[in-house]
Structures are given as structure tokens and as C-alpha cells.
């Protein structure tokens, strides 16, 4: 099983949303990381077949998805970033409707809906109108519909938006179980959501693919650039203005521990810290200057 994104580009008027991206997705959970506007949603909509690339093609097991048509959609599950429901649908009605569209017969559909509602903890709101559910519950309905046909390829665009911490953990566990022998691509700018469950990550910026690899491989890119030190509390504003600060923590002695990103330590008291995926993300997408990140060439 292999999903090949082959030199895919997409332009909207003057803006090049996706530029010559090539990626070979194999079974496992893939994290697609990028800031807002990086081109993640456009790429995912092209993988879903809802948007045609201007150049390049998307190929599943050797055949372009446009040619596979119904056969591709049969093994495909999709949760878009922003999605709606008909106002008068109840949770049960909606899932029954999508199950029919996914080709499940009535009995299969009923059984699968029951299973999934249990998995996403929505069994007791089955008869409630979706319009009256909370944002997190709506998101879980969206996740359930994506899983209805037990897809081989599952694409989730910002799936954890609106979920509380407990729901996020349950969602991560659900995906980890589900991902065996399947391709799961999760786009997010919330790094911890994919840091521990994704086997591989792809990082895109300004429509271009910056890097791909496992968490370990990618964090190596910022090895030697993550530092921590303790500074007096009154100097924190000055450090924040000079450095790319990742985190701040108040210590009991009145000082503040800061974790920052820099080519070289900023003072003698700084020590090298163990890099995490979030450090790489912030290195690539500096806060307040998202469009002016580090040179792309360094990571390719």
C-alpha cells in the first residue's frame, strides 16, 4: 500500500498554495506540520480528490486517483479542517446518511455506527441534532464519519481543534490502534498531537516541502540550537526581544528558566537542551515572522 504525491502544485490566482511537493506515504501515521496558510489544507483536499492539482498527480498503488475514482473513494476517509452538517440532522441520521454514501449496507452501517459512537463517546447523543452539540462533540462526529468505511487511507485536517485534553488523548490512542496497515495523514500545527504517534512527519512551508523524516531524524536538525538558562526575572523582556524563546518557567528563587533557540548560546550560563519536535517547528516557523523562516535549502 502506497500513496504517492508526485510533483504536485496548485495555484489560486496569484498565490502558489502548493509548489512541487513530492511525498511517498506508506502505512503508519504521518504528521503534516506547517503554520496556518502553509498549504496543508490545499494538499489534503488534493489527496481527497476534491481539488485537482495544476501540475503533478496523486497515485495510489500505481494508479492515479482520478482514474481509480469510486475504488479510491471506497478505501478513503476524510475529515476536513472546516466542515458542516445539515442543520436538521441528528448524529445518528448523519452517520446513517454517510454510511449509505460509503456503500455500507443497512446492517453493516448500523453495527459500524454503534461501534464508532462508543469509541468516540457519543452514544448518548445519538438522537440529538448535531447543530446543538459542542464544538468538540461535532469534531468527534466528524472523526466517526471518517472511520465509517474502515478506510485504508485516512486524511485528517486539524482533527484535534476544539477537543479538550482528555479527548485529545483518547483520539491519539484511537488513531494509534487504527493505523496498523493503513496510511493515516494528520495535518496540524499543534505539534504534541502528532509528536508521539506519528511514525513520520512532513513539514511544509509556503507551499513547499521543507523536510520529511521520523521525529528523531527531524529533531536532529535543531541539535545544538536549543538552549536553556536561568535569568533574573527583570531581564526576561530583554531576552524575549532578542531570542526565539520556546518556554518560560518561574523558579522558586525568583529567577526564570528560559528555553530558547539560537545558533550559539547567548550567555555563559546556557546549557544545551535535548531538542523536541516543537523546537524544530518553532525554528522553522518563528513566532511573529512566519513568512520569514530559515532558508529552506538547509533542511532539504
Amino acid at each position: 500500500m502506497e500513496l504517492l504525491i508526485d510533483h504536485v502544485s496548485k495555484r489560486f490566482r496569484d498565490k502558489r498554495a502548493v509548489s512541487d511537493i513530492s511525498l511517498e506515504l506508506t502505512p503508519g501515521v504521518w504528521g503534516l506540520l506547517g503554520a496556518n496558510g502553509a498549504g496543508k489544507t490545499t494538499l489534503m483536499r488534493m489527496i481527497a480528490g476534491n481539488l485537482q492539482p495544476d501540475e503533478g498527480q496523486i497515485v495510489y498503488d500505481g494508479a492515479p486517483i482520478g482514474m481509480l475514482g469510486e475504488r479510491y473513494r471506497d478505501i478513503f476517509g476524510f475529515l476536513p479542517q472546516e466542515f458542516g452538517f445539515h442543520q436538521d440532522f441528528t448524529v445518528g441520521d448523519y452517520l446513517t446518511y454517510v454510511a449509505a454514501l460509503k456503500g455500507l449496507d443497512e446492517r453493516q452501517g448500523r453495527r459500524r455506527i454503534q461501534e464508532l459512537l462508543e469509541r468516540v463517546s457519543l452514544l448518548d447523543v445519538r438522537g440529538r441534532k448535531i447543530a446543538r452539540l459542542s464544538g468538540g462533540m461535532k469534531r468527534r462526529v466528524g472523526i466517526a464519519q471518517a472511520l465509517l468505511n474502515d478506510p485504508e487511507v485516512l486524511i485528517l485536517d486539524e482533527p484535534t481543534g476544539g477537543l479538550d485534553p482528555g479527548e485529545r488523548v483518547r483520539f491519539r490512542n484511537l488513531l494509534s490502534e487504527f493505523a496498523h496497515d493503513r496510511i493515516v495523514l494528520i495535518s496540524t500545527h499543534i505539534v504534541p498531537d502528532v509528536e508521539y504517534i506519528a511514525t513520520c512527519h512532513a513539514i511544509i512551508k509556503d507551499g513547499r516541502l521543507l523536510a520529511t523524516g521520523s521525529t528523531e531524524e527531524l529533531v536532529r536538525l535543531v541539535e545544538g540550537r536549543v538552549w536553556s538558562c536561568q535569568v533574573p526575572a527583570d531581564l526576561v523582556p530583554e531576552y524575549e526581544s532578542r531570542l526565539q524563546v520556546v518556554s518560560l518557567r518561574n523558579e522558586n528563587d525568583g529567577s526564570v528558566s528560559i528555553r530558547y533557540l539560537r545558533e550559539r548560546p547567548c550567555n555563559a550560563g546556557s546549557v544545551a537542551a535535548t531538542p523536541r519536535l516543537e523546537d524544530l517547528y518553532l525554528w522553522l516557523f518563528p513566532q511573529g515572522s512566519m513568512g520569514n523562516g530559515k532558508p529552506v535549502s538547509r533542511y532539504q
Binding site: R45, Q52, R73, D74, G84, H86, F89, Y97, L101, G103
Partner: protein
């Protein structure tokens, strides 16, 4: 079938659908009853009191008064009616019926009035179209009443279609085939048909409002992104959505039309449906129908027009990205025949009003008025009576716009 069933369930679960369908049904009854409220009669009873009657009482009174006039409109009966009229007015030394003393018209003329319908028009001047008064008509000439009518249609068409010999020939040919003598059964007026037209137009608007968001609402809400990447989420879902909208609109129109016609005919009397349309409209109307058949044909044409409009609306819905734009465009096209018939002059107006999907039930430009008119679409030696053109256009538009709607939905964003 399952997808269609679920789609029907989805549309019917929407509160707005039920509100509009209930309103349409209520209006179809109301609009059948409303013409009865315009009926008014007054007379002086034996005790010398003036009696005013309205509504159903007025209809019953006039029907009873005109009961002798009902039946076949033979030239002999028309001649007798004209002679009675002329004798009455001569006896009172007047030339117009409204100059008769109070109560005389109701007593002498009203009972024979249904037979006098169209007499003046039949004897209109062939060059100017000016109708004479009944007093000026020679009763002896009425012996050839239907020949006079056939001469009248030829003269009328010379004025209506001076440039199209084909249209003139076609009209004379059609009128020659109209069954004669005519029949008349008093009690119903042309207002009843006007209200059937209003009912059809309102149901059309309601159906358009139901159909306008079918595709565009999914685009706008993002629901479409999920649905179109399911196994049956393209052509099958598109076709199911289309069929569901057509089925709901079709059933809604049929139910409303049946309820309206049953109510109207029950109120005005079922025998009225046997009246020839020539005794309700122009004496030279080209349609070979009685009122009952006319109501039915108008309902069928209205149904075709509603289905054509809904197909077109679904096409617009599949092309627009928001419900507001699809609804606005659909409503503009629904009222377009009304505006065009008022604002655009000449043959262009006739052509546009004949081919637009909503023409069949539109106000002013509907098939009702086309069937009582003498307009033809002409192209070289070809002349098509506008009601046939309207029905033909709807029959073509239903599959055409249905196909385009599903195709546009499948290709959305592609």
C-alpha cells in the same frame, strides 16, 4: 434507492420544507375560495326590498337565474338570445343594457347573458377590430354563427400576425378543428383560472426556495468536502439530490393543483367544467377544450414548468458557492418572465417568455394567457403556437438542466 430515500428524508426533515409545503397547501385552498368572494348580485324582492348577495349565495342565485341558458350554444339559441336582448332594449327605448330601469336587466337580460358571450366579438369589424353593439347585429346573420366566428379568427390573425402567413394559416386550421357548437354552463368566471395561475406561481416559488440550497448549502457549510469523497458521493449523490428535489416539488405541485381544482369546482359547480373555453374567454380561442380539460392541461403544463424551474434551480445551486447567491439567481429567473413580458417589446419578449423555465406558471406570461392568446413563434415558414412552445421547452429543459446540474456538481472544484 437507499441514497434517494435518505436524501428525501433529509430534505423532508428540514422545518423550512414543511412550512413551505403547508403554506402551499393552505394557499391552494384559499386561492380556490377567494374568487367566490368577488361574486356579487343584487335584486329587488317581491316586497320591494333590495337584496344584496355575495359569495356562494350570489353564485347560487345567478346559476338558478341562468339555468335555462345552460347547454349547447347553437346558432338558433344565440339568435333567440340576441332577439330577446334587442326586444328588451327597444321596449325601454335604450341602446345599452346599463340604461335599463332598475331590475329589468336582472329579470330580462341576465338569464340569457351566457349565450350572448362573444357575440359582439364574432361580429367585430374585420378591418378595425371594433365590435358592434348587440343592437347593431342583424339576427338573421346569426344563422351562420360559427362561419362568422371562423371568418373572425381569419380577420383577427391578419391583424395579430400580418407578417406570418404560416401563423395565420395555422390559427385558422386550429380553430377549424375546435368542436362546435360550444357548450355553456353558467356559474364560473375566468377569475377562477387566474387564481389557479397565482397558485401555480406561488408553489413554483416555494419549490424554488426548497431546491435553491440543495447543492450550494453543502458547498457553503463544507459538508460537501466530506460527502463528495465517499464512494457514492459524486454522480449517485448528485442524481439522488436532484431526484429528491424533483419528487418533492412534483408531488407538492400535484397535490396543491388537485386540491385547488377540486375546491374551486366544488364551490362553482362541477357542471361548469363542461363549458367550452370559448364561452369563458375569446369566442375565437384556439384551444379545443372545455374548462375542466383546460384546468387539467394548465395543471400539467404548470407541473412541467415547476419541474423545469426546479431543474434549472438545481443547476444554479450546483454552480453557486453560497445559498444566498443560488437563491437570488433562482428567484430572478423565476420572476424573469413577468418582467420580460412587461419590459421587453415584440417578438423577443414572446420568444423569451416561451422558453424560460418558469414561463408555464408565471404571472402575466403563463401558459394560461398564452392559450387564450394568438401569439406564435415564427421562424421562416414555421409557426408554433406559444403554449406548445412553452410545453415543448419545459419537456426539453427538465432532462437538460437535470443533466447539467449533476454534471456541475460532479465537476465542482475540479
Amino acid at each position: 434507492m437507499r441514497i434517494l430515500r435518505l436524501e428525501l428524508k433529509r430534505v423532508l426533515k428540514a422545518r423550512i420544507t414543511w412550512i413551505l409545503l403547508a403554506l402551499a397547501l393552505l394557499l391552494s385552498v384559499l386561492l380556490a375560495w377567494l374568487p367566490t368572494t368577488y361574486c356579487y348580485s343584487n335584486y329587488t324582492d317581491e316586497a320591494g326590498n333590495e337584496v344584496n348577495l355575495t359569495g356562494l349565495a350570489s353564485i347560487a342565485y345567478e346559476k338558478q337565474l341562468q339555468s335555462e341558458a345552460g347547454g349547447m350554444v347553437t346558432p338558433e339559441r344565440v339568435r333567440e338570445a340576441v332577439e330577446t336582448y334587442q326586444r328588451c332594449l327597444a321596449a325601454y327605448g335604450v341602446t345599452e343594457s346599463y340604461d335599463l330601469p332598475e331590475g329589468v336587466y336582472e329579470r330580462e337580460i341576465l338569464p340569457i347573458a351566457p349565450l350572448l358571450h362573444g357575440v359582439k366579438e364574432a361580429f367585430a369589424d374585420p378591418d378595425t377590430g371594433m365590435a358592434p353593439t348587440i343592437m347593431e347585429i342583424d339576427p338573421e346573420e346569426i344563422g351562420d354563427y360559427y362561419d362568422v366566428c371562423e371568418s373572425r379568427i381569419a380577420a383577427l390573425m391578419e391583424m395579430e400576425q400580418p407578417d406570418s402567413q404560416a401563423a395565420r394559416r395555422k390559427a385558422v386550421e386550429m380553430y377549424g378543428k375546435v368542436g362546435k357548437p360550444f357548450q355553456v354552463y353558467p356559474g364560473m368566471s375566468a377569475t377562477v383560472m387566474d387564481y389557479q395561475n397565482i397558485m401555480g406561481f406561488l408553489v413554483l416559488l416555494f419549490c424554488v426556495v426548497i431546491a435553491a440550497p440543495v447543492f450550494s448549502a453543502d458547498y457553503q457549510s463544507g459538508a460537501d468536502d466530506i460527502l463528495r469523497c465517499t464512494r457514492h458521493g459524486r454522480a449517485r449523490l448528485g442524481a439522488a439530490k436532484l431526484l429528491a428535489a424533483l419528487i418533492i416539488s412534483g408531488i407538492a405541485f400535484v397535490v396543491c393543483a388537485v386540491v385547488h381544482i377540486l375546491t374551486a369546482d366544488s364551490l362553482f359547480g362541477w357542471e361548469c367544467t363542461r363549458t367550452s373555453v370559448q364561452m369563458l374567454y375569446s369566442i375565437v380561442t384556439l384551444a379545443d377544450l372545455n374548462v375542466g380539460e383546460f384546468q387539467l392541461l394548465f395543471a400539467v403544463a404548470g407541473l412541467l414548468s415547476v419541474l423545469a424551474s426546479v431543474s434549472f434551480t438545481l443547476f444554479l445551486s450546483a454552480r453557486c458557492r453560497s445559498t444566498v447567491s443560488s437563491l437570488a439567481c433562482a428567484l430572478v429567473f423565476s420572476v424573469a418572465p413577468v418582467i420580460i413580458s412587461m419590459a421587453v417589446p415584440g417578438a423577443l419578449s414572446t420568444w423569451l417568455c416561451s422558453v424560460l423555465p418558469a414561463s408555464g406558471t408565471s404571472i402575466q406570461a403563463s401558459i394560461l394567457y398564452a392559450m387564450t392568446d394568438f401569439q406564435f413563434l415564427t421562424l421562416g415558414g414555421l409557426a408554433v403556437w406559444t403554449p406548445f412552445a412553452m410545453i415543448g421547452a419545459s419537456v426539453i429543459e427538465i432532462p437538460l438542466f437535470s443533466y447539467l446540474a449533476v454534471r456541475s456538481y460532479c465537476r465542482h472544484n475540479a
